[in-house]
């Protein structure tokens, strides 16, 4: 017989056949499309939210420095440096402004008593780049601060008994006090300065002649990046090259609470996005699997009338691709709709803005992920097409070794080679998508590992459990209630989807619970970090004999908590590092002048707000030891073991670095970069700095009381800045909770639809049972038994892996992990309940169907 080699079915014919089928059973396909859409929508929504929130958050974080980057220097920039900065501005759009800080004497017109003030010279046209200077009476800094006026700290009015509108004399020139500074956004990052703040313009200060060459002034250059400037880190690198002795800081370093909050938010949001992606993929995969399984009979018919496996592959690949595309587009519309609509409802609660333009990145990521997962998850059932025997159109027999369970594992692996390969491809591709979507590599890596581990364990567990169940049923068959027996037997009937449902449910539970546990731990940690009792007032220049008196006075003020942190400050200079004299020292972005005005302090145990990152703190007051704050250590190239020589007056101190530490900005120890044991500093002249928390409303009266008793002590008020930090941290926790809730909810919906997708295979069974006289209750009981077992099993494995993943991720984020037994227990039960409810819900319509309708379709 001659059979000429027929060319493969044309794509156009395949498309035509695929389209016809789509058109014919719209409702069934709608279900598939909706499953894809929900997955893609949750990915679009979560990513979009997370992007818009991070932008808002970063803007607020920038306001604490008033800039993206700052360079602190003790000199003006040279013309060469200026030219380079101009070039940087032209090439990358890095805008700059300078802020000069110095001290001077000021007095009220007609009052000869002068006061030491801390002058801040700004260009109100540019300063601040982020955030606003809040004035009282309310006004814009650009119009309020002129060349003939100043804006001042409330503390200055207290001390000089002045009021807004009075005239201040500085450097022989007169300036009108135009307003009181209520909030200076970059107060936390500005120098400590002596005396209350007076802000003026550059022209004004030039008129006073205070800024002569060699005067004790600090220059801070503030930089604002534009979209073409690239990443903060890159711009920082450029600036470090241009200004080698400038102390460059970026906005992420301004407050440890804030940078930690940002890190946690990034990590958690990455996790949430990944979870959305995998849950979406599970939804897509389960829908496609169910879709193709229902079509096995049709595929057999097609084969019996001459369709080749490759023809069928072509037709169904096109069909699934079309379904995936429609679903993905619908999902994107849904996700964007939610993203645009939600700020209108929750705008007051959440710091999110509706996106102004199409978030192309998150949309294309969601679309690509939707299509890719659709294709990936279609592979295994499509590859199964080759195994469909057309003879099932004649007789539905169960053949092959699967039924008797005697086939060797290796034979099965060999027979299912294509399936294994496609499984590996799916896991690798999911890992790839995860890596591409994750902003946090740590999260991406561990997430992929946990996912693979879970899949291996859960599929293994499914096989073992089902086998055990079968052995158990063989022994106890007739002693069990028939509905229970039937329900359990359903779990391993031929062609069942127990393993797929288990994998989907188990993965879903792991992901959802991980998000919950992570957000729970992180929110708790952030709330305890940003306690409202953090010091918000700094007291500077307290003499040795004033310390006790100041402490008593402050602690007796109404509302002040019984916590008064004070550190002694000894002025010193560094003379040599590792035997190299200071003038020959090579330092990285550390103004050398700072080496000759070092603030030393002492502490015989690790002070509050200090975290040792390298080495070990001393235990004896006369030990040889030096602790250095991490950023100074990095710039001076110090590490445990480095020898440092200090000189304070005539006293020389030889010491060695034993510890490197991180300081939390809200604590008073953050004001010092070098800490020694008390022994070596004994007897040296010193002043004290103190920090205390005073309720915002009490600050003004406390300042007045303090001024009356100790007029030389300067008060620095950072209450407003702390409010900003706490506000941002609060918003982070709020958004984390919101997004976690959103992803948990959409995850539950997707999982429910995965369970529901098994319903079509039940139709035939329901019909047969009904024909045999089973009531709906009886059928519902049978299904419930099946779903309870699936739910409990999946819940159990999912909970274990969720705890493992959370533990690893929290450990990496340096957040303590506490096992949540109650939550874990509830999750296992909730999974079973979810499985049963969705199982019922999905079977409801089938249960009501007349058997004849189904039989007629057979």
């Amino acid at each position: 017989m001659e059979i000429d080699q027929k060319p493969a079915l044309g794509w156009d014919t395949a498309a035509k056949i695929a389209w016809r089928e789509l058109r014919a059973s719209r409702t069934k396909f709608l279900f598939v499309i909706l499953s894809v859409a929900i997955g893609v929508a949750s990915l679009t929504g979560v990513r979009g939210f997370s992007e818009s929130f991070q932008k808002t958050l970063l803007d607020q974080a920038r306001s604490i420095m008033s800039a993206d980057l700052s360079a602190r220097m003790f000199r003006l920039i040279t013309p060469q440096e200026n030219a380079k900065l101009d070039a940087l501005a032209a090439a990358k759009g890095v805008e700059r402004t300078s802020v000069t800080e110095t001290v001077s004497m000021a007095s009220l017109q007609g009052d000869p008593v002068p006061l030491l003030v801390s002058l801040k010279v700004v260009d109100p046209a540019k300063y601040p780049f982020y955030g606003t200077v809040i004035l009282n009476p309310a006004g814009d800094l650009r119009t309020t601060l002129t060349d003939s006026s100043v804006v001042v700290d409330d503390n200055l009015l207290v001390r000089l008994r002045a009021k807004v509108g009075d005239t201040l004399k500085i450097g022989g020139q007169y300036f009108r006090i135009a307003a009181v500074i209520e909030k200076e956004p970059d107060r936390l990052t500005a120098g400590v300065g002596l005396g209350p703040r007076v802000m003026m313009t550059r022209t004004a200060v030039d008129r006073t002649g205070l800024l002569q060459a060699g005067s004790r002034a600090t220059e801070r250059y503030l930089f604002k990046l534009s979209p073409q400037s690239g990443k903060v880190g890159d711009a920082r690198g450029d600036l470090e090259k241009i200004l080698p002795d400038g102390q460059i800081t970026d906005f992420r370093e301004t407050s440890p609470a804030l940078s930690e909050g940002l890190d946690h938010a990034t990590g958690l949001l990455s996790l949430i996005c990944l979870v959305a992606m995998v849950l979406g993929a599970i939804g897509v995969g389960m829908a496609m699997r169910a879709h193709l399984q229902q079509r096995i009979d049709i595929l057999a018919i097609m084969k019996s009338i001459g369709a080749r496996s490759s023809d069928i592959l072509r037709i169904y690949l096109l069909q699934t691709l079309l379904l995936g595309t429609i679903g993905a587009l619908l999902g994107i519309a849904l996700g964007l709709g939610v993203e645009w609509a939600l700020p209108f409802f929750f705008g007051k609660l959440l710091p999110i803005q509706p996106p102004l333009r199409l978030p192309v990145r998150s949309v294309s990521a969601a679309f690509g992920t939707g299509i890719l997962t659709t294709i990936l998850f279609c592979l295994p059932p499509l590859l199964d097409v080759r195994k469909i025997r057309p003879s099932i159109v004649l007789r539905k027999t169960v053949e092959g070794g699967d039924a008797d369970g005697k086939m060797s594992v290796w034979k099965r692996i060999r027979e299912n080679q294509a399936q294994w390969i496609s499984a590996v491809v799916i896991v690798l591709a999911l890992g790839g998508i995860a890596a591409a979507l994750a902003d946090s590599m740590v999260v991406g890596k561990w997430f992929a590992a946990a996912l693979c581990g879970l899949l291996v364990v859960i599929l293994g567990l499914a096989a073992v459990t089902l086998r055990t169940l079968r052995a158990f049923l063989n022994k106890t068959r007739l002693h069990l209630h028939s509905a229970l027996r039937h329900g359990l037997a359903n779990l391993y009937r031929p062609g069942n989807q127990s393993a797929a449902v288990l994998a989907a449910l188990g993965t879903g539970v792991m992901l959802i619970l991980s998000v919950f546990l992570m957000q729970h731990a992180i929110v708790n940690r952030m709330n305890s970090d940003a306690t409202t009792s953090a010091a918000n007032i700094f007291l500077v220049d307290i003499s040795q004999d004033e310390v006790q008196g100041v402490k008593d006075l402050v602690l007796h003020q109404p509302g002040v908590q019984n916590k008064f942190e004070a550190i002694p400050i000894v002025s010193a200079r560094i003379t040599a590092v590792d035997g190299v004299p200071t003038d020959q020292l090579k330092v990285k972005n550390y103004p050398k002048r700072l080496l000759s005005s070092i603030s030393l302090t002492w502490a015989d145990a690790v002070p509050e707000g200090v975290k040792v990152t390298q080495g070990k703190w001393w235990t004896k007051s006369d030990a040889d030891g030096l602790a250095v704050v991490d950023h100074a250590a990095r710039r001076l190239n110090l590490h445990p073991g480095s020898a440092v020589d200090f000189a304070s007056g005539e006293t020389i101190i030889h010491t060695h670095v034993v510890a490197i530490y991180k300081a939390e900005g809200e604590h008073v120890f953050a004001r010092s970069e070098f800490v020694l044991p008390s022994g070596p500093l004994k007897g040296l002249p010193n002043v004290w700095y103190a920090a205390v928390h005073v309720p915002s409303k009490q600050i003004a009266s406390m300042e007045r009381a303090l001024f009356a008793a100790y007029p030389t002590v300067t008060v620095i008020n950072i209450a407003d800045i702390l409010d900003t930090v706490q506000g941002v941290v609060h918003q982070i926790t709020l958004v984390i909770r919101f997004l976690a809730g959103f992803s948990i909810l959409s995850g539950a919906i997707i999982l429910a639809s995965s369970v529901a997708s098994t319903r079509f295979r039940r139709i035939r069974e329901v019909v047969v049972l009904k024909t045999l006289g089973a009531t709906r209750n009886r059928i519902a009981t049978v299904f419930s038994v099946e779903f309870v077992v699936l739910g409990l099993l999946a819940g159990f494995v999912g909970v274990i892996f969720a705890n493992l993943l959370t533990r690893v991720l929290l450990h990496k984020m340096e957040v303590p992990y506490h096992p949540e037994f109650a939550v874990s227990g509830i999750s296992v039960i909730a999974t079973a309940v979810l499985a049963v409810i969705t199982g019922w819900f999905a079977s409801f319509r089938i249960l009501g169907q007349k058997p004849l309708e189904v039989l007629r379709e057979e």
Binding site: I305, G306, S309, S310, V393, L394, D404
Partner: protein
């Protein structure tokens, strides 16, 4: 023509192996109408499935026009089915999501190149009396109408062989008669080899030849029409 040599088939059902065909030898010349008879479980449908290459035999060979189709890989088998063999099932096996016309068109689209399949499919549906049912879905058709669609589908690529598995088994007698008339008329006109499985003696009597199966073996082989009824 079809040649069957030492054909055996067993299947696994759970832990049991059931031998359905125990050694069949059979030769069917071109244009012959062969009826296969036997009780339920005698192996009729299995034999038919093996003739169509819907399944592979455990032992033995099925030669269609001299080619042993039992040795062909799945894709080649699909081609044989698509070009050489039309199939009519007892339970119609129409694709529920396609209209009558699309169901008939499908084998043509899968197997034939060029030509006007649509015109041919429409004409075939007209000859089976379904001119006004072209765009109906299977569920909207009666059993007799569904089987007539299946007949049209079996003949659309003009295969030299048509296999029918109790094609009237699900139909009432008048519908069954109608379908059978159409089938035999078409077979004669196109000189198609027709192999039909039935346990209805009256239908079998219309065939050129009858074989009887019992327990997976041919127990009788009769030639010649038994009466002049029908056509």
């Amino acid at each position: 023509m079809i040649e069957v040599r030492g054909l055996k088939k067993s299947i696994r059902n759970g832990n049991r192996t059931v031998e359905i065909l125990k050694g069949i030898d059979l030769s069917v010349p071109q244009g012959q109408f062969l009826a296969i008879m036997g009780a339920s479980g005698s192996g009729k449908s299995t034999l038919l499935g093996l003739l169509a290459g819907l399944d592979a035999p455990t032992e033995g060979a099925v030669l269609v026009d001299g080619t042993d189709i039992s040795q062909l890989p799945e894709d080649k088998l699909a081609q044989v089915r698509g070009k050489k063999i039309g199939f009519v099932f007892q339970s119609y096996q129409l694709i529920p999501t396609l209209t009558a016309l699309e169901n008939v068109l499908l084998p043509y689209e899968l197997n034939a190149e060029g030509g006007d399949g649509k015109r041919r499919a429409t004409a075939l549906l007209e000859t089976v009396g379904l001119a006004d049912r072209l765009h109906h879905y299977p569920v909207q058709l009666s059993g007799g109408e569904q089987q007539r669609v299946a007949l049209a589908r079996a003949f659309v690529v003009e295969p030299p062989i048509v296999l029918a598995d109790e094609p009237t088994g699900n139909l009432d007698s008048s519908n069954g008669q109608h379908v059978l008339d159409l089938l035999t008329k078409r077979q004669r006109e196109a000189n198609t080899t027709l192999v039909l499985v039935t346990h209805d003696r009256q239908i079998a009597d219309r065939a050129d030849r009858r074989i009887f199966l019992r327990d997976g073996r041919i127990v009788s082989d009769e030639s010649g029409k038994q009466d002049g009824n029908g056509d």
